[in-house]
């Protein structure tokens, strides 16, 4: 798995857009970028994955520049329920049974 760097914590007010950037300078050609979300006292949950450019689903958007050395998770109009830890993981999706290894993630606190 490629090493990733993301902010330890972020605060945001309700209704704002939140962007969490992850750096992954050593990303390999076959690597995908995946984000997981962990609510307090729950297990992590997959939210989005991408390889390049932009991916959007009902939860978030993921922006990946052409050099793929970083990525930005964008959460539109956050609410209190988006308070969670967000993990950026980078690795080869088809390398076999490589278990997920989580870093410290970014703790997002949404304030009313």
């Amino acid at each position: 798995l490629a090493k990733t760097t993301q902010p330890i914590s972020m605060d945001s007010y309700e209704g704002q857009e939140v962007n969490i950037t992850c750096s992954h300078n050593n990303i390999a050609t076959n690597d995908y970028i995946t984000w997981y979300q962990q609510f307090p006292s729950q297990g992590p949950r997959f939210i989005i994955q991408g390889y390049k450019t932009k991916v959007t689903n009902e939860v978030a958007s993921l922006f990946i520049p052409a050099d793929r050395k970083s990525s930005t998770l964008s959460l539109p109009r956050v609410s209190l329920s988006d308070t969670a830890v967000y993990y950026c993981l980078v690795g080869d999706e088809v390398s076999g049974n490589t278990p997920l290894v989580f870093g410290k993630g970014t703790r997002l606190s949404v304030i009313a």
């Binding site: 994955q49 993990y87 390398s95 049974n97 490589t98 278990p99 410290k104």
Partner: protein
């Protein structure tokens, strides 16, 4: 949406006692995992299990830990002689196919183990 079910949600045990944490993975998943999270720290990989045997384990997963799939549906983690530092949230996860795809992991809600 299919879920990974873990029981119990909270277990308190005395130091030195054996505990068994139970998990029911998603029925068509092939890979099973245990992770733990000490309060305030990151989620740590313990062990992965495929085809009725351990496929990978971390240095945390020492001789006091064991895993088993006793009946084709349950997946258990046994801690033989618990220590205070084993107090943590233990998460079971399963993934769908042989690639271990990052997006295919489904985690349970965890068992909070408290060793006193």
């Amino acid at each position: 949406e299919p879920e990974v079910t873990q029981t119990p949600s909270h277990q308190v045990t005395q130091m030195g006692q054996e505990v068994i944490l139970r998990c029911v993975p998603i029925s068509n998943h092939l890979y099973f995992y245990w992770y733990r999270q000490i309060l305030g720290q990151k989620v740590e990989f313990l062990v992965s299990f495929y085809n009725n045997e351990i496929s990978e384990k971390s240095e945390i997963f020492d001789d006091q830990f064991s895993v088993e799939r006793p009946d084709g549906s349950n997946f258990t983690l046994k801690i033989r002689s618990t220590k205070l530092e084993d107090s943590a949230m233990y998460f079971c996860a399963s993934s769908e196919d042989g690639t271990g795809s990052f997006w295919g992991y489904t985690f349970g809600s965890g068992t909070r183990l408290t060793v006193v």
